[in-house]
Amino acid sequence: MSIERINIREINENDLNQVVELIVRLKSVNEELDANFKVVNNIYDVVTNYVKESINNDKVVLLVAEDEIDKTIAGIIRFIIIDRLFYEPRIKAEITDFYVKPIYRRKKLGVTLLQKAIEYAKLKGAGIITAIYPAGNDIADNFYDKQGFIPLNKEKYKTCI
């Protein structure tokens, strides 16, 4: 698998099934890392709606990395534009979903997707870009550390029993 033949572009309706599959995989990995991320039984339906809504939401950008030879979607990155209201820079792009198929990894595709997302985020007026993912995801930790991300917020939880 070479990433020279990969084209990064915004999602369209024809990508729906493949993108849903990748986001379901991403959520399933989260479940493996922490039982608090147990996926719902109708995960495919939920993710399908989530992706459809992403396509129609001008605050959301969902980019796909498409293998131009066989039209496989090798990876995706989704971010949402958020107004931080109280803080400068006001506009942030928050990465909510980021997944590269394992077979396409170790080829800098993740870095390329991130760079492309940053370009799109700038066009949307974002001054910063953040990423949100489960605390136990060391793969994501290593990736973002290497890309110069630093901790910004903390989220703690306890069960409501």
Partner: protein, 158 residues
């Protein structure tokens, strides 16, 4: 010891479907750690065949963790023989998986304990485990269970 309600036993034909789901999950999870573990597109189908082949197979050791008639984990191992070594047989755990919601309940430990008891009967003195080097969850688990680094495998594309 209190009763956890978890029964470690050999799988039967009735376990094929739930066992295949566990096998699939094991591989789908490990592919996340190393691209060389990437699974095929029909992995679920193949996992079913593998689960079928795990029943009554005398070449491998397989145990499942049964909690209230639901399979929550499994272990599969093979015996590696080398007549040149004093310890000429080592049991290698090839697959061990516990469902996320059933983790931290000692199931992995119980599966390994059961396997250890079984192989001891054949005079096997060592048990080892293989998994992707970047799977830190497995690393943490096996360290806690008293395993130490033993063998290293390197890989490169040709």
């Amino acid at each position: 010891m209190y009763d956890t309600g978890i029964v470690i036993r050999r799988p039967t034909k009735n376990d094929i479907l739930p066992l295949s789901e566990l096998v699939y999950r094991f591989y789908a999870f490990n592919e996340e750690f190393d691209s060389s573990w990437a699974i095929v597109s029909n992995a679920k189908e193949i996992a079913t065949k593998i689960a079928e082949s795990m029943i009554n197979n005398t070449n491998i050791n397989v145990f499942v963790a049964d909690y209230d008639n639901v399979l929550s984990g499994y272990i599969k191992s093979v015996t590696n023989e080398n007549p040149l070594l004093i310890n000429n047989k080592i049991e290698i755990i090839k697959e061990l998986y516990v469902k996320p919601q059933m983790r931290r309940t000692g199931i992995a430990s119980m599966l390994i304990q059961k396997l250890s008891e079984e192989i001891s009967k054949s005079g096997i003195k060592y048990i080892a485990v293989e998994f992707p080097v970047q799977n830190w969850i497995a690393t943490d688990l096996y360290k806690k269970l008293g395993f130490r680094p033993y063998s290293t495998t390197y890989i490169k594309e040709v």
